[in-house]
Amino acid sequence: FSKFTSIDEELFEELEEILIQADVGVHTTMNLVDDLREKAKEENIKEPKDLNELFKNQLIEILSQGEEKEDSEQPTILMVVGVNGAGKTTTIGKIAQRTKEAGMKVLLGAGDTFRAAAIDQLKVWGSRVGVDIIAHQEGADSAAVAYDAVQAAKSRGVDLLIVDTAGRLHTQSNLMQELEKVKRVITREAGEMRVEVLLVLDATTGQNAVNQAKLFNDAVAIDGIALTKLDGTAKGGVVIAIKEELGIPIKLIGVGESAEDLQDFEAESFIEALFN
């Protein structure tokens, strides 16, 4: 904003352009900038860099609102869902790595019984990280794998069971019903284990991510989002609308294809990156 010496309409347009190009979405952007105009008047902001600061804080506030610190002491079953190719299986490998490194016992469930070599792919991750995996064969019933995985998790006393699922489009109602069934089975069998659902979203996705979040949330109640491929040039701004409209927190970000390329989501660094 160094080229602006005063706050005028051009500056607001520049902010709009930055947000739209970051995939924040045109309507969300217009609402955010309207709110900013109001606030700038109320607080009598005169300097462009103060406006910049105010705006960033406004966005950080949206992304961090209602974030409670997690009690990760209870044994957990994490069900990972999302559309095709978003990065579910890879993210599972990364979560398994960090959890194992923290000294906890991890088990994987090969719930993608549909896609070619999906079970093989998860098995490679299992052996890379050094964790066991419960699998049937390709074509098996996904809910049956989930059932077996939960039984094994309970009897082995694992701290974290991560269940992979096949990629699916939120518009495929029969596949969304299958996902509901898998969650029902997991929840019914969970016993003392807590059940959480993680939605994996690709940062290169545009406004369709909002539909994805809505429909996956309707089907299985999403507890958190993992935003992948932020090591690319896409900004993932669509999560702002998702947080605002659905209240779902972004918990993790993927920044590469290796086991260590997983970071906790931090609103400040995310917004800083968005403006660069």
Partner: protein, 292 residues
Amino acid sequence: GLADKLQGAFDKLKGKGKLSEKDVKGALREVKLALLEADVNFKVVKKFVKKIEERAVGHEVLTSLTPAQQVIKIVNEELTELMGGTQSKITFASNPPTIIMMAGLQGAGKTTTVGKLAKLLKSQGKNPLLVAADIYRPAAIKQLQVLGEKVEQPVFTMGDKQDPVDIAKAAISHAESNGNDVVIIDTAGRLHIDEALMDELKNVKKAVKPHEILLVVDSMTGQDAVNVAENFDQALGVDGVVLTKLDGDARGGAALSISSVTGKPIKFGGFGEKLEDLREFHPDRMASRILG
């Protein structure tokens, strides 16, 4: 959709008598919003709306009894033309084998598209060889082998310890001695900003000189589509694009972004996960999908 919004915009102007250029330019804001909602890149939208403006402030709209419909007609025509004139065909080499190389970001649908393309070409009487040149992704080779079995076409692999350049070269020789008239090379997903991996792709291209380089892009891609398309095209010279996951409900504005910045045709659309789910790309249908 856009038709109703434009109608609304023009209805508001009805009482004023004759339409002015300023009136029409104001109504075009609805076109800009529709395209941005559809994920068309911001700069591409600006350029496109400017082009529409030149026609929309002309005689055909200003004197029309149904200006909204005239504008929609112009927008549809311009969109279709930008994305169209397309050859939904593979250019076959006069001396086989025809070499096709897939490229694109991680998870776009390359490997699946290789399988689909093999099935399509086989149905057209070709004998394609699938080449497993993704040595990085866990079980990528296995994934292609499973697809190859389904299509009943051979898969060439040298495992995951050999350089993709050497794999590609060996695959071509194998095709020549085994009567495969088409070679389809699957490559690892990569970021357009990953220099080492983009160089790898350039080296594969240099080594085997593909007749067709197909950029595979996820149809739900947002603003970033421009960066991806531009970079891959500048690095490799893309011959065509495959837009995947069109069976979803993404508006698909990436299609316009890609056509606008590369001028390269979108040759096929992926409409599902099965190997028969590859179809010709129809720019006119894409245009109305984008407009919503």
